[in-house]
Symmetry: D2
Subunit: 138 residues, 4 copies
């Protein structure tokens, strides 16, 4: 349930003069992938913001294993690993069309109030999500 | 008074696999250049938003005369051309270090309420700005 | 044949603090849309570069009719309008999910040699494309 | 010698609808900061590419300590920590105008041939740089 697969084709604008997918863009793709994981379990990230919460990134760690190129169709495997306090940890792997692992990453987001930006334990959709995560992970 | 010069060095991330400054980034530089023009006459764009207004772009027209490259130090000449109704027109020219004209553009922004997004005639800093513009332009 | 429809969902990273899709990103989406049009008629843009040509943008004109937002599923209608000399003109319209026209644009690209960057009349895939365009447009 | 301080003002385009500097942009700023460190010791990154080498990122680890905002003037402290095999490690800290630590990161780049993309031990400017690094670090 907390695993999701998402495909993205590398746009020209995301390349750099080395001819590679610029390394900053992986974080943009990972962001899209984690909200697609939520969509897949019935939660829109925009609904979370409507409920008064934001989920800013608090840490990220990325390994660039193989370069990626313009027009490659990448498969991003996203895993919601754990919920600890107000933090959610996502693990990622990206595979090329030939199935080769090209990138992997861990990204932590924290739940915070939209108005004051302070870390908090949320109600509503996020609380339901966290209960599901804890149940599934045991 | 409504002319301003601003320098920007092309970052590596803004290039593409053609080896050029990607064409979408000029609009980002022009945006920075127009808020620097405002700063130069004593108005911070963030203060305008604090007063409840936003200035979204409503049209843009760009001529890519010469390509630009990584690490070039570009000079952006910005001119606040006119204020008509709730719209402000900016004209731009970009020059290379050798003084060659490499890009030119016109960008129109409109004043809108931050909450409802509707076009409006603003009070506060923007109203003062528009009075100054009308006075100077005659 | 020279019309194509392409869908894109607005990523979070492409929004700005106004809460809107940042105006610079439309040019990025239009770029993807025109290479998808080519893909649809059997030409990969990367093959064009492999043949020694690039198609840099020489002018762009954009009307921001309605704002776009995070997570909107936009439909981009792309039309390859004409081929004149070494220039190709594309017209675009973007529609929201409710079918409302939210953005329109014209973008011109020019054929140039990959090595010297000079405008040129190409052989190969581009020549075939241009013959098809002239035939279809009459 | 292998420490450098670089200032950047957060552009509007780099914010997101949370109102924060989007987390992917820090990697773009860190890239600029490391080539500014090289410039400061007399090496242009573009000269390295002219000599036939590229320095792609192989890993990155980022801690987002405090959020950053539009128009903040950030100070990036960059340190060239070590040269091991064909890899160079950079450490970064970003400080707000009030001197608060808001972000820190480690980024590793590897030397590779521009044509084949393979990791290599370089000649020329990079070799000189590595000798200096080893001498200084002891």
């Amino acid at each position: 349930m907390f695993d999701h697969s998402f495909k993205i084709r590398v746009p020209y604008a995301d390349t750099d003069k080395m001819g590679l997918l610029h390394h900053s863009n992986y974080l943009r793709y990972y962001e899209t992938a984690r909200w697609e994981l939520l969509r897949n379990i019935g939660i829109l990230y925009s609904e979370i913001e409507d409920e008064g919460y934001i989920l800013p990134v608090t840490s990220a760690s990325i390994k660039y294993i193989k370069p990626c190129y313009y027009d490659q169709l990448l498969t991003i495997q996203t895993k919601l690993v754990s919920y600890r306090g107000p933090r959610i940890l996502f693990d990622y792997q990206i595979f090329s069309e030939s199935g080769e692992l090209v990138n992997e990453a861990s990204v932590t987001v924290a739940c915070a109030g939209k108005e004051d930006g302070k870390a908090c334990h949320p109600d509503g959709l996020l609380k339901e999500l966290f209960i599901k995560v804890e149940k599934e992970r045991g």
